[in-house]
């Protein structure tokens, strides 16, 4: 087998060296009755060309050549091929967690740069080396807030990504964590009036997403003030990280839980992505996840190491701040390389292009009779429209024109069955936006 660097005779010689007569002998500590006699019922071994063939066939069963207006936490942005070329270097791709600093300075330096970039973008003081994704980062941020405040209720905006809230619910269930939902106003923003003194009193955190699931940007500064007034923390989650190129950073938030997929990571049917937690320096010892820190060797040469490990499971076991071990290091590297390429100018330019495309798309859709924008709040590259028919019906027809239409909100918001979430990034050609608008118009003109 091509992955195995041994010849039959080498196997025999090694067995002899061990003093074993057969390979079976090495498995004798497994009780006889549990040792398999037949080969596993798996498909026959495939050669490399056959493996490629298998996956190309699968790809053909997806939606090649479709134009998609889906966002909802996963975004298609321009990437440079440079990023992938670098990340595929074996020294990055096939290296282990950098516990042995002297032969891991490449990874450690890159993590240190990642932590720095995340701080610069979010306006926070410290950021970790990565979490699984946005949904688990948010959940861990909330557990962190609970530890910091000792308060076990959290007020979560309904406009937070529904799947993020589902993950939170799963974790919260057995930890005595109370989750209260907070609604939204006509602007699509969190209903600040619902944050009453007494609700806040027992709350460890107020949790929002900005831009939120409806694409609307929240007033972080204002919400922080309200939360802080009652001793609650403000946790802000960001699903569309590219927005930070133009949208005011959540400096007033106490913990930021971000999904970094938008920074050069392909959608890949939902993962792997890269979660991030950023917070204030004073909270660092309650932070989950790995951290790289700067130090020196005996000769005073600068170097980097994993640090503050006393927070982590391999040292603290049941007392750790989290059970996370393996994280998303490689995708933190993708984001790092991508951001270094894009740079200060590029990050701003890309974000601005998203705003322009969104505004253009809104204009095009608003022209369609019977179609109206659902929320009045400011948006980045996503927005909700209300249609005169169920979105699912409209999408069924769009599909025939190789268009994957707006995300139907009814599934997660029973009151919004005629509402659809539309996303347009800088990668969406004007012509495709016009094609969508034209198609929707045509669909609505034709009676059911």
């Amino acid at each position: 087998m091509r992955y195995l660097p041994k010849s039959p005779s080498e196997r025999q010689e090694m067995l002899a060296a061990i003093g074993a007569h057969s390979i079976e002998e090495l498995f004798e500590s497994i009780p006889q009755e549990f040792r398999l006699r037949e080969p596993l019922p798996l498909p026959r071994a495939l050669s490399e060309p056959e493996i490629i063939e298998y996956f190309k066939s699968r790809a053909a069963e997806n939606a090649p050549g479709y134009t998609s207006f889906l966002g909802a936490g996963v975004y298609q942005h321009h990437r440079s091929v440079v990023t992938d070329a670098l990340v595929q270097r074996g020294e990055f791709l096939t290296s282990y967690t950098p516990y042995q600093a002297e032969i891991s300075q490449g990874t450690l330096t890159a993590i240190f740069e990642f932590q720095t970039l995340m701080c610069q973008l979010t306006g926070q003081e410290v950021a970790n080396a990565s979490m699984y994704d946005g949904s688990t980062a948010l959940t861990e941020a909330i557990l962190m807030a609970e530890r910091l405040t000792g308060r076990s209720t959290v007020l979560v905006a309904r406009s937070v990504h529904p799947e993020y809230r589902q993950v939170l619910a799963t974790y919260a269930k057995n930890l005595g964590l109370e989750i209260e939902e907070v609604g939204y106003t006509a602007s699509g923003q969190l209903d600040a009036k619902a944050l009453t003194k007494d609700r806040l009193a027992g709350a460890g955190a107020v949790v929002v997403q900005s831009p939120n699931f409806f694409g609307v940007i929240e007033n972080i500064a204002g919400l922080a003030e309200i939360a802080h007034a009652e001793g609650a923390l403000l946790v802000d989650t960001i699903a569309e990280a590219v927005s930070l190129g133009i949208v005011r950073p959540p400096v007033e938030a106490d913990i930021v839980a971000m999904e970094g997929q938008a920074f050069g990571i392909s959608p890949s049917y939902g993962g792997p992505f890269v979660g991030v937690i950023a917070t204030r320096e004073k909270f660092v010892r309650q932070m989950p996840g790995r951290l790289a820190g700067q130090t020196t060797d005996a000769n005073g040469r600068r170097g980097f190491v994993l640090t503050l490990a006393t927070r982590e499971q391999h040292i603290r076991r049941e007392k750790a701040t989290s059970n996370i071990c393996t994280n998303e290091a490689l995708f933190a590297l993708v984001a790092t390389v991508h951001l270094c390429l894009l740079g200060k100018e590029g990050v701003r330019e890309m974000a601005s292009q998203n705003v322009a495309k969104a505004q253009f798309a809104i204009g095009e859709l608003e022209k369609i009779p019977g179609v109206r924008r659902a929320f009045s709040g400011p948006v980045f590259n996503e927005f909700v429209f209300e249609f005169p028919r169920a979105v699912k019906m409209i999408n069924a027809t769009l599909m025939r024109e190789n268009i994957i239409g707006p995300l139907p909100l009814g599934m997660h918001y029973p009151d919004l069955t005629k509402h659809g979430l539309v996303c347009v990034t800088e990668t969406m050609p004007r012509a495709e936006i016009e094609r969508l608008a034209g198609a929707v118009r045509h669909i609505l003109e034709t009676p059911i």
Binding site: P5, L42, P43, A59, T94, I103, E163, N174, Q294, R317
Partner: protein, 504 residues
């Protein structure tokens, strides 16, 4: 080039695996920034430009992000290429990290993960146009069930630790459905740190239990602790000593008698794939680390994937959504499962990792047994050749890994960490030193099947030579590594006054 480093250099004769070569220095990317340099440019905007402040409102926009680097494409290429040359990696040599199963990461897996309509698939695109992705998930589930002998699976957990949590949540939901979720989870003192940490998040108390002189679970002790409020035992099998729990059936029986379940941490599945199936020896719930046994690249710390496999009675509690095949053969995601523990991660988990694992399994088919045999062969070969030189605290038969201790070298003040660092000079990555906690000064060695005999022999040479140095020249071991760009770094200083980000 630093003279200090070289004064203490080892006598060259002893080192066959590595030399030293000129290596580029490189600062932080921020230190290369200059206003106006660009590393990536965008196509011109094809719609009217808008003033963000006007579109979003003054209070919602920011100035450009202070401190972001401004560098050119070539500088980025060189920066990260240079950084990469400071790393050790599987592509460079053996990684004898016990419990981590650092095996070859097949390149074709990287290739297929990048095929257009797979890499660009959106997790919310309708099932009609996601049949390829769903089929991949479905096929992988079936392969994993065949390998483990379990009945049902979820691929959602992002890593082993999350798999543990997911498994425990399912146990809890199951027991709760029977009326009482119970309070405690038993964990052997040899277990990995994520086990107890996951138990806590699942809302259980940790109860540690002793290992016996063989390094296996002490069944008397287990009987004693397996009370009515115990929900489960988390066993790692083979355990972290690389020893198969010979009384696994008895252990399962003890728990089952008392209405508790047996959870298996499958991190060491590389010792069993194709040889024995946990489903056959009493395991009720287990997770796999696809980034260990199933070859997906570690990438400097992640990503991973931690599928959970369960017996029939636990199926109703699987996280949503579940990938199902409908009659007619179409695939779909089923979220309508009232007893589900809920979601543990957004979307369908680390799809890109799952895809790679399937590619790995397709490459072996039933031949995966050969990989297991070679892994166990390598471990025993190394054990055999090092037994005389290092202390073997538990001499039960080894499977995929062997755990020595530094007891003998300690006499000369040489610790497992010193030996580990000295291995670097010999061109190897160190073995695992952090655990199992039941072995003071542990040296946990797992070669995996990916190592040729040549590489194993070089490792044996290196270890023997270091054992000798520990006698004749302990200082050189204690001051190691000597061959690297930087020497041992001051971790205490790093933790005392943490510098966690670059500042101008």
């Amino acid at each position: 080039m630093n003279s200090k480093m070289t004064e203490t250099e080892a006598p060259p004769a002893t080192i066959r695996k590595a030399g030293r070569h000129v290596s580029q220095n490189e600062g932080l990317i921020f230190e290369k920034s200059a206003a106006g340099k660009r590393g990536m440019e965008l196509p011109p905007l094809d719609v009217p430009a808008v003033d963000p402040a006007a579109a979003l409102g003054r209070d919602f926009v920011r100035d450009s992000v202070e401190g972001l680097p401004e560098v050119s494409e070539i500088e980025v290429i060189r920066h990260f290429t240079r950084l990469s040359t400071w790393n050790y990696a599987i592509d460079l040599g053996m990684y004898p990290l016990g419990s981590c199963t650092m095996k070859y990461n097949p390149r074709v897996n990287e290739y297929v993960a990048r095929i257009e309509a797979l890499a660009t698939a959106h997790p919310m695109q309708p099932a009609d146009v996601a049949q390829g992705c769903l089929r991949i998930l479905y096929d992988l589930q079936n392969c994993l069930l065949a390998i483990t002998g379990m009945d049902a699976a979820t691929l959602q957990p992002a890593a082993g630790a999350q798999g543990e949590l997911t498994g425990l949540l399912m146990i809890r939901a199951y027991l709760a459905s029977k009326g009482n979720p119970r309070k405690k989870v038993l964990i052997p003192d040899s277990a990995h740190g994520t086990n107890p940490a996951s138990v806590v998040i699942a809302g259980y108390e940790v109860q540690n239990i002793r290992s016996n002189r063989l390094g296996e679970i002490d069944t008397d002790h287990l009987r004693e602790f397996a009370t009515e409020d115990v929900a489960a035992l988390m066993v790692t099998n083979p355990n972290t000593l690389g020893v198969f729990e010979e009384r696994i059936a008895e252990i399962a029986a003890i728990l089952h008698e008392r209405g508790a379940l047996l959870y298996m941490d499958g991190a060491n599945m590389n010792a069993l794939a194709g040889v024995a199936r946990p489903g056959d020896f009493g395991v009720d719930v287990m997770h796999l680390n696809l980034h260990k046994t199933f070859s997906t690249p570690h990438g400097g710390g992640g990503p991973g994937a931690g599928p959970v496999l369960v017996k029939k009675m636990l199926e109703p509690f699987l996280p949503v959504p579940v990938v199902v095949r409908k009659e007619g053969g179409r695939f779909a995601l089923d979220s309508n499962r009232p007893q589900s523990v809920g979601r543990v991660r957004a979307y369908c988990g680390n799809f890109g990792v799952l895809l790679r694992a399937l590619a790995y399994i397709l490459a072996y088919g039933p031949g995966i047994r050969q990989a297991t045999e070679d892994a166990v062969l390598n471990a025993n070969y190394i054990r055999k050749h090092l037994e005389e030189y290092f202390d073997l605290p538990y001499d039960a038969p080894s499977m995929h890994e062997v755990v020595f201790s530094d007891a003998r070298q300690k006499r000369n003040g040489v610790s497992t960490m010193d030996i580990a660092k000295r291995l670097i000079d010999y061109g190897f990555h160190p073995y695992t030193t952090a655990f199992p906690l039941i072995v003071p000064g542990a040296m946990m060695i797992e070669p995996t099947e990916s190592e040729s005999r040549e590489e194993c022999d070089l490792f044996i040479d290196a270890m023997r030579s270091i054992a000798q140095e520990a006698e004749t020249n302990p200082e050189i071991v204690k001051a190691a590594p000597h061959a690297t760009r930087v020497g041992r770094l001051d971790e205490v200083a790093a933790a005392r006054k943490p510098i966690l980000r670059w500042k101008p």
